[in-house]
Amino acid sequence: MLGLSRNDFLMLLLVLFLVAAAPILLNPFPEGSSLAQFNAGYPDLMQRFLIFGIFAVGFNILFGLTGYLSFGHAAFLGAGSYAGVWMLKLLTINVIPAILMSTIVAGVFSLLIGYISLRRSGIYFSILTLAFAQMSFALASSVLQPITGGETGLQTNLNDPRILDGANTSGNIPAPSLFGFEMRESIQVPMGDWLWTFNVGYYVCAFVLLIAFYIAIRIFRSPFGMMLKAVKSNNERLSYTGINPRPYTLAAFVISGMYAGLAGGLMVAMDPLAGSERMQWTASGEVVLMTILGGVGTVLGPVIGAGIIKYFENIFSKINDNMLQSWFAFMPDGLESFMVAVVHPFVGKGWHLSLGLMFMLAIIFLPGGLIGGIDSVYRRIFKKRAQ
């Protein structure tokens, strides 16, 4: 089906279902209940799940398949964001040209950086990408201010030309839209105690994610994908086999750069603002975390990893001491305050600590990430049954 094997097609269907039903699935707790704060089914967060999912899926094409660890992919996301905002400013508030241009600009940018960085491998490659990304970040926040808006960032204005849109008579800055449907528009459906929000922007992201995910599956299962796995496994042998590994890795680098640009384009399509901090190396580190946590080299892993990290960032970070106290209220007083004190550093503003620990545990005990872990558990059970 669609050129996919049965299993891959089922996986695509699963992702389609999860993504389409996410506004319902991610709101399991009734409105107004004490657990409602753990609901993730609001548009802003769900959009981020998908956008970072795209970013991580693309990153995995490079890191997961070829083993080349880039610490500079945030630069492509940032470059894509800037390109996207400029399209919204100059051409039209319709998001399609912005998203396309983001992808193209990031592709060109990654071709340039990839061409140079891939002259080296291993740690040297990682440091080259890191150096390029830090340079881009430094320049974007200072000298390139006319293009990037410097430290305040780049955003749409009322008096932008928008040459395709005609005169703006409303007196408001127009919101990014798709043929008249504004990204921020939502339909709210109350259902008993629950409230479901179906947002235009979210479904635009969902559509793009599905396509990006589908393309990634095709790449993984293609001869090209197998050559990339061979690069990771034994780069030198590949060249004695009649293959020039460099164009393969460069192609993987550019494809993953375009995915990053696509994610950047979607970001500005949802919220037309681009800042230089998106290019910082810690942002590149974040996508590495997502990929590893979910399962490097697996098709689905990065999407899961992106979801988990973004959920942590937005939900875990909201837990405060009052909430902790109410959870541990059933305990005797001394124990209660002890538990609050123990848990406190890991939640709220300390969510990064939990993230770091989770990440370390994943690398130490689950080199295949969550998907790899689930897979091996599944296999163990399956094998036992076969015996």
């Binding site: 094997s5 790449i219 090209f224 197998m226 042998r237 009649g242 293959i243 020039n244």
Partner: protein
Amino acid sequence: MAVALEVKGVNKRFGGLQALNDVNLLVDEGRIHAIIGPNGAGKSTLLNTFIGRLKPDSGSVMFDGKNLIGKLPHQINQIGVSRVFQTPEIFADLSVIENVMIPALAHRDGIFELNAWKPMRKETNIRQKAIDVLEDLGMEDKLEMTASSMSRGDKRRLEMAMGLVQEPKLLLLDEPTAGMSRADTNNTIEVLKHIGDSRGLTMIIIEHDMHVVFSLAQKISVLAQGTVIVEDAPENIKGNPKVQEAYLGGAH
């Protein structure tokens, strides 16, 4: 008889060691040519200069009218020279069948092909080719095994399958049967013989096992201290005093 490979005046020095000293070699087309010699004679070094792993200080290696010296490994392979490595250089994380399909794809698609859309499982021709070669080598029951989990002997056979599937014009074999059982060795000899006869493939084989050498070779060059001391038909090599001296002299 046509010449397949012509090696002229190849020199290679590592610091104070003259590893290859004015090596000259003529390999006839469609023949199996063995290079023997004591340890450290420079056999593997010589092969390394053929495949672009090492650049000699001087000399030329002509194949098919092209000088292989200065060409990159993947270019040399695409000209039609494949090498079976002594220590298995396989794609350890991939399955056996994938290990063989990769060189098969390289043979069909060249040094680079952005073949990112067609699913691997629709490459039925390539897959069949790989299976055929693996069957010849008696590995048809191990197709989906991960390469790294195989025995050493199986890795050697996999190496050979990776070379053979490319249908090279010249196959370089570096101790292809080392680490194999006697039965596997004999099977390998049969396979190589069969391929040599049926495809008219030129082969250069480095080997310590004289049983293998004399079963296969139609011509033998003896290398000692970086230089070819004798080049002759197998029947004339056995009693040659120079050869005996080289081996015994090397053993002192």
